[in-house]
């Protein structure tokens, strides 16, 4: 059974929400913390509600709506989100008040909106969707698990259209705390220089990317979602390479059938090493595109990568800002997205032009 990506929507630190050619005017930054370029949320959400909503909910609802609009679907049969951090802003607000006010005189709004399923719940509420609704919160696998759940449900035949996506936000607290773990560059690096910067650390990002998946091809579809796979804590590089070979085999193809690889390089010399190893072993002459210099690093960043790969298939070219290596072939039919988060969470997504 084929599963089609009938529509996509993305809100990110790039101008991805307003349509037009992919990354025609890439936003260049020189900072270690990127923020989303926000569309006008009033087109989807009542003004009164917008004021109460945290950014993660707004970007989730926005990207979900963009994706449904592109697919021409008004009522999906299921809504599945992946978010590693969940609603950090409301969690931080409630936690701060709880500590500062010694557990007294607290109000419910932040607590209500702090639960990880708030985004999926709000989308269901705004669409009036009574269907299946799930939220995966497993670090660098959150988005991939959401895709896998969607694929399994579509294969069962119990749904026609499924909205699936990944979303995560940065807050002042989260950025301050993640910085203390030493995840980010000590000094800011320019966007187009990040992936070749000779130091440890990356840049923090955020965003939402949603996909309307279906078993019937809609006019807007350009690619099939052919496969998704995750690999947890590989013991060495060889296990990653073996896993990729097995994944391609399971999807009836070989490295030679792949026209483009899209990798999750983030500019951290230690973390990017595995991408080199994989490219050397399996894809030495393949064209490679990258995306985390554009959207930043976060646990569900692979959703941006898949969104970008789908847009590349639509345009049949890799925009200059996304090129990492090589010349793209004239026809881009199969694209493999290989991402890892912090070396522990590796994932593969295969798209095939349709």
């Amino acid at each position: 059974m084929q599963i089609y990506i009938n529509g996509t929507g993305c809100i990110s630190p790039q101008e991805t929400a307003q349509g037009g050619p992919l990354l025609a005017a890439p936003r260049e930054y020189e900072q270690v913390r990127l923020a989303t370029v926000d569309p006008d949320y009033k087109q989807w959400i009542d003004v009164k509600q917008i004021r109460r909503m945290s950014r993660v909910v707004k970007m989730g609802v926005g990207a979900a709506n963009l994706s449904l609009e592109a697919a021409g679907v008004t009522a999906p049969d299921a809504i599945i989100t992946g978010t590693a951090y969940g609603c950090l802003d409301d969690t931080g607000v409630f936690l701060t008040k709880m500590v500062n006010q010694q557990e007294e005189m607290l109000t419910p709004t932040a607590f209500i909106q702090s639960t990880h399923n708030t985004v999926a719940g709000q989308i269901a509420l705004l669409l009036g969707c009574n269907g299946y609704n799930n939220t995966f919160v497993h670090r660098g696998f959150s988005f991939e698990n959401a895709l896998l759940d969607a694929i399994m449900i579509l294969k069962e035949g119990s749904a026609q259209h499924i909205l699936a996506g990944g979303v995560d936000e940065i807050t002042n607290h989260s950025h301050q705390l993640l910085s203390r773990f030493g995840l980010y560059k000590k000094t800011p690096v320019k966007t187009m220089e990040l992936l070749n910067s000779p130091s440890r650390g990356t840049i923090a990002g955020e965003g939402a990317a949603f996909f309307t998946l279906g078993i019937a091809k809609q006019p807007g579809a350009v690619a099939e979602l052919s496969g998704v796979s995750t690999l947890y804590k590989p013991l060495w590089e060889g296990e990653v390479i073996g896993h990729i070979m097995k994944f391609l085999e399971d999807n009836n193809c070989t490295p030679a059938d792949i026209d483009l690889i899209v990798t999750g390089r983030n500019g951290d010399i230690d973390q990017d090493e595995i991408y080199e190893e994989v490219a050397d072993a399996l894809f030495p002459d393949h064209a490679e595109a990258s995306f985390k210099h554009l959207c930043g690093e976060y646990p569900t960043a692979a959703a941006f990568g898949v969104w970008m790969a789908n847009a590349i298939i639509a345009q049949q070219e890799v925009p200059e800002a996304a090129v990492f290596f090589g010349r793209t072939p004239e026809k881009i039919k199969k694209v493999l997205i290989y991402n890892h988060h912090q070396g522990t969470h590796h994932s593969l997504v295969l798209l095939t032009a349709c």
């Binding site: 557990e103 209500i112 399923n117 269901a124 799930n134 919160v137 696998f141």
Partner: protein, 398 residues
């Protein structure tokens, strides 16, 4: 794709027992777990009774074989997951393709809230060690790593239905031949964050809760973990499985972020969907393990949805939360174990403290423990914030 998925075992730790036999004994003895807080430090200590696991972190760490300074959520998870695995008779875990799918709502919040007090007074303050396992997924990984599970690891957070949704996803992983065995359920430790959050919603009872009683005024929070071991048809043939996970469904109420719709739309759709998947008629269900939190809103919505689906033949029903308290992300897992065991042993659990018939409903919960019934099919309900409603159906082998 249509392969059957079986329950090969289960494990529970909660306010009424450190393992499954202890929990069943508490039901037999009519001993609910709500007491004054012993382990959680909160200004509300003497206001709200809670069903805490009756052990401090040092004892739990010893039982789990894990460090004492990690989140209580992970310690509870490890203890119940290992009991589940051992009860399955599968033996060496490295012999199988195993998945671990665990639900929780606040991850390592018990440590984060300690950290935050120091951090807010000094942005460079607080020990980072206490923040390391804040993420929900990190709790799952601590346990997966200890158990030796690597094939598929996932965490689900749909508030109070997280554990139930873990069983659904786990079942699909087996039916799609991604793994052969899945340890599925949920875990949550009590935290000040959750206690204060539920307090702002004004749905905490200052007395032991009274689910499905007309005079109910709210829920008691609990804590714990519960997991079943799901296995494929081919593995089940070598074991003596408890029962089959014959049906499940997840629906969204799409009514309000925290409240259930008055007619229980999501609840009805979840129960109906689970029955449809199992190919059963309502009258074939012998017992329902209710979501039954004890709040005004939940019990009336759930009750009305049951009335709509089951009238005029009502199965035996009870809320085991009248013993365990509401264990949030763990509840779907804990109650899945109780429900699977109900099929295996013919147990109907008591609903504690029921005295007054709800005027909106034509049925009442069961108030006494009994075993040895011929229960062919049992339903378990889990409904949560965000409109997330899930129902599971467990069926006798045949």
């Amino acid at each position: 794709m249509n392969e059957k998925v079986w329950i090969a075992g289960g494990g529970v730790i909660c306010g009424i027992g450190l393992d499954v036999p202890a929990c069943i004994q508490s039901f037999r003895d009519m001993k609910p777990g709500m007491e004054a807080m012993q382990h959680l430090s909160s200004v509300h200590r003497s206001t709200f009774p809670v069903a805490e696991v009756k052990a401090d972190n040092a004892t739990l760490a010893d039982m789990a074989g894990m460090p004492e300074n990690i989140s209580r959520t992970a310690l509870l998870s490890m203890i119940a997951a290992r009991e589940a695995w051992q009860s399955s008779g599968l033996g060496d875990i490295s012999q199988y393709r195993v998945g671990f799918v665990s639900g929780n709502t606040v991850g390592g919040m018990d440590k984060t809230e300690d950290f935050f007090a120091e951090y807010l007074s000094d942005p460079r303050g607080g020990r980072l060690q206490n923040l390391l396992h804040h993420e929900c997924g990190s709790i799952t990984e601590l346990v997966a790593d200890s158990l030796g599970v690597r094939h598929h690891i996932s965490t689900i957070s749909t508030a109070c239905s997280s554990g139930a949704n873990a069983l659904m996803y786990g079942s699909r992983l087996i039916r799609n031949n991604i793994v052969d065995v899945v340890i599925a359920g949920g875990t949550d430790a009590l935290t000040r964050f959750t206690l204060n959050g539920f307090n702002t919603l004004m749905i905490l009872d200052q007395q032991p809760c009274r689910p499905f009683d007309d005079t109910r005024t709210g829920l008691n929070l609990g804590e714990g973990a519960g997991y079943v071991v799901l296995v494929s048809d081919s593995l089940a043939a070598r074991l003596q499985p408890w029962c089959r996970l014959s049906g499940f469904a997840n629906a969204n109420d799409a009514f309000h972020q925290t409240a259930s719709s008055p007619d229980g739309t999501g609840n009805y759709l979840a129960m109906k969907g689970a029955l449809d998947m199992s190919g059963l008629q309502p009258q074939q269900i012998g017992y329902i393990n209710l979501h039954g939190t004890g709040t005004q809103n939940n019990d009336v919505s759930e009750g009305i949805a049951i009335n709509r689906l089951f009238a005029p033949y009502f199965p035996a029903m009870s809320s085991t939360k009248s013993f365990t308290g509401h264990t949030l992300g763990a509840s779907g897992g804990i109650e899945a174990v109780f429900s699977a065991l109900a099929v295996k042993e013919g147990i109907i659990y008591p609903n504690a403290r029921f005295e007054h018939q709800m005027k909106e409903l034509p049925f009442a919960p069961v108030t006494a423990f009994s075993a040895g019934h011929d229960l062919q099919h049992v339903m378990s309900n889990s409904f949560g914030f965000g409109g997330n409603c899930s129902s599971l159906v467990f069926s006798r082998a045949s």
